[in-house]
Assembly symmetry: C2
Homo-oligomer: 353 residues x 2
C-alpha cells in the first residue's frame, strides 16, 4: 500500500474527487437511517479496481430490508445503500481484464452489496459486469434483480410448456409484471392475483395489456365465481408467492396436484401456511427462491446466458419495464413514493441530476 502511494505520487497522478451517496451507519427504518452524504473518492486505483460513475439506480424492497437489518445477511456498517443500477466505467486499474473505460456495467448481486445510490465509486472489477449499450439505461438499471428473479422462477422449479398455467400474487410488482410477459412468451397462461385497492381497474388494464390471462383480487380468489372462472383452464403447476399468509395458502389450494409453491418475498410479514392435507394427499411442495443464492452458485457463463435472453426480450419489446424516474436531489421524496402500494412502477433515481 505504501509502495503504491509513493509510486502514485512519483507519477503525479494522485486524484481525489467527491461523490454524493446515500449511507447508513445503523440499522433501522430507511426514512430515518438513510443519510445523503458527500464522500471522498480515491481515484488512484488499485490494479483490480475500476472507477464507475453511476447513471441510474432503482429503489427496491430489498434496500429497505438491508437498511433495517432484516435481510438474509447484514451488510457491514457504514454502508452505501442501493443493490442494483447501471453505471459507466470511467477508469480501470492496471490489471483489470474484463472491463474498459466507457463500458456500461451493472452490479453482480451478492452479499457484498455494491451500494448503487451514489454518483460514483471505486469497486473491484468482479463486482460489476458489462451490459450492452443498445438497451435503454433505465432498463439496464432495473434488470439485475426483478426480471432476473422472474426468469429464474419460471426456469428453475417446474418444467413449463406452452398451454401450462401458473398463478402468482404480488402480480403488479416488477417481478410479477416480468413473469406475465416471460410466461406469455412461452405460451404459458397466468392467473394474476393483485391486492384489493383503489387503483383496481388501472392495474387490471396494465396486467391484461401485458398478456395476463386472468387478473383477480386477493378477495376474489376465495369465491365460487373464481373457481368457475378458472374451471376451463388446466390447474396451475407453479405458484409464485411474494406475500405469504393467507394469500400463499390460497395459491397452494389452487395448485394442481404435485404442484410447487415458490416463495420469493413476504410482503405481508406473515409465514407461509400450508394445510397438511395439501402436502400429503396432493403432494404440494413449498420452496423458496433467493436471487443472491442463485448468483453465488452459478457461473459467469450461466449468468451471461440469462442476461442475453432477457436483453433479447427487451429488444423485441416482449419485455417492458415500468419505471418512474426521480432526480437524486429529490431522494427523500423518491424514497417515500417507492413505498406507496400498488404504484405499478419501479422508482428509479437519476443519479446525475
Amino acid at each position: 500500500m505504501n509502495r503504491f502511494i509513493v509510486s502514485s505520487i512519483s507519477k503525479g497522478i494522485r486524484h481525489y474527487s467527491t461523490s454524493k451517496a446515500v449511507k447508513y451507519s445503523q440499522f433501522g427504518n430507511a426514512g430515518q437511517v438513510l443519510k445523503v452524504v458527500q464522500e471522498e473518492v480515491n481515484e488512484n486505483l488499485q490494479p483490480q479496481e475500476v472507477l464507475i460513475e453511476m447513471i441510474h439506480a432503482p429503489i427496491n424492497p430489498v434496500d429497505f430490508n438491508l437498511a433495517s437489518g432484516t435481510y438474509g445477511f447484514q451488510p457491514k456498517l457504514p454502508s452505501v445503500a442501493g443493490s442494483e443500477g447501471v453505471g459507466v466505467v470511467k477508469k480501470v486499474g492496471s490489471k483489470v481484464q474484463q472491463l474498459k473505460a466507457n463500458d456500461l456495467v451493472v452490479p453482480v448481486i451478492s452479499s457484498q452489496v455494491v451500494g448503487t445510490w451514489r454518483t460514483k465509486g471505486v469497486f473491484n472489477e468482479k463486482q460489476f459486469h458489462k451490459v450492452p449499450s443498445d438497451i435503454p439505461a433505465e432498463y439496464l438499471a432495473s434488470v439485475s434483480i426483478n426480471p432476473t428473479t422472474a426468469y429464474r422462477l419460471l426456469e428453475d422449479f417446474v418444467k413449463l410448456q406452452a398451454g401450462d398455467v401458473i398463478i402468482q400474487n404480488a402480480s403488479s410488482g416488477m417481478v410479477g409484471l416480468s413473469v406475465i410477459q416471460m410466461a406469455k412468451a412461452k405460451g404459458v397462461k397466468t392467473i394474476n392475483v393483485i391486492r384489493n385497492g383503489a387503483d383496481h381497474d388501472e392495474q387490471v388494464e396494465l396486467l391484461k395489456g401485458l398478456g395476463g390471462d386472468i387478473v383477480v383480487t386477493e378477495d376474489y380468489i376465495r369465491t365460487q365465481a373464481f373457481q368457475k372462472l378458472i374451471s376451463d383452464l388446466p390447474k396451475p403447476k407453479l405458484a409464485l408467492n411474494a406475500v405469504g399468509g393467507l394469500s400463499a395458502t390460497e395459491l397452494a389450494r389452487i395448485l394442481a396436484d404435485n404442484g410447487t409453491l415458490v416463495t420469493y418475498g413476504g410482503m405481508s410479514r406473515e409465514p407461509v401456511i400450508i394445510p397438511t392435507s395439501h402436502l400429503i394427499f396432493r403432494n404440494i411442495q413449498s420452496k423458496g427462491f433467493w436471487l443472491n443464492n442463485w448468483y453465488s452458485s452459478h457461473t459467469e457463463a450461466e449468468r451471461q446466458e440469462m442476461f442475453d435472453k432477457i436483453f433479447t426480450m427487451i429488444r423485441s419489446k416482449s419485455l417492458k419495464l415500468y419505471i418512474e424516474k426521480h432526480k437524486f436531489s429529490d431522494f427523500e421524496s423518491a424514497l417515500i413514493r417507492s413505498q406507496e402500494p400498488g404504484k405499478g412502477r419501479k422508482i428509479l433515481l437519476d443519479l446525475q441530476l
Copy 2:
C-alpha cells in the same frame, strides 16, 4: 356370471360361510360409525379371487381418518374397516398366479382399502402380496404402513450418510420408533421430539434404548438449553413431521440450510407454518409423503425390495415393533385403547379370538 353359477352348481361346489367384520355405512366418529357385523362370504371364487382368513390387524390412525371421511380419498360405503394386517390364503381361483393356499399375505396399500378387520374375506389376488413365514405374524400384520413409511422417509428425500443428523416429532409412534432404528442402522443420528406428558421417563428410556441419540419434549426444543445440547452435532438435513403447527415450525427452524421438512401426518390438525425467511434465505423445502402415492407409483419389484430390506432388519433384530394384542371380541375396548396418547405400542386385533 350366470354361466359361472350354473357351472358351480353343476359341480356341486357352492360354498357360503360367515365372517365377522367391522363395517361402516356412513362417515363419522369411529366409535359411533364402526359396527361389528356378521357377513356372508361367497367361497365360490371367481378365477382371479382368493379366500383369505385374517390373522392379525392393527388399528392405525388412518383407519379413523377413513371412517370419518377425512382421508385423502373416501372409500365406497358400506366399507369394511382396517387398512393392513396379515392373513393366510385358504383357497385360490382358477387363474390366480402369484398366491397359493397357506401363503401368508399382507394387503397392497391402495385406495381400494381391503378392510382387514374381519375374520375372512374374498379378494382379488392383486390386493395382497405374499410375505415370508419366518417373521412373527404380529410383525407381518404391522409392517405395511408404519415401517414402510419410515423406510421411505429415510430413502426418498435426502441422501443420508453415516454421521448425518435428522430430527423428527411424534417420535414415539410406530413410524417414529422405526425411523430411530433404521437411522441407527445407517449410522444416522436422530433428534427425537416427544410430546410433553406423564409417561416422559418411560418414553425417553424406550427411544434411547432403540438408539435414539437425543430425546426431548416439544417444550424443550424451544429452549436455549436445547440449542446447547445439539451444538456439537451437525445440523439436521431432514426433518420428519407428523404433528404440524408450532411443532413443524420448530423442526424447520432447527434444520440446516438447504434442509428438507417432510410431512407425513398432522396429529395437531394444524397446518404446516414456515417463516418466509427460512424458505428464502435458508432454502428450506417443505414436502409431503403419502404412502398410498408411493405404492401406486412404484413397481412390484420396488415394493418387494423394500419389504425384503425391512424383513432383513426384523430377522437381525435391528428393527423391533412394539405391539399390544387385543381379542377381536374385545374390539370396542381395543378401539378406545388405540386412541390413548403416548402409549408407545401399536394396538393389534387378534382376529381369530
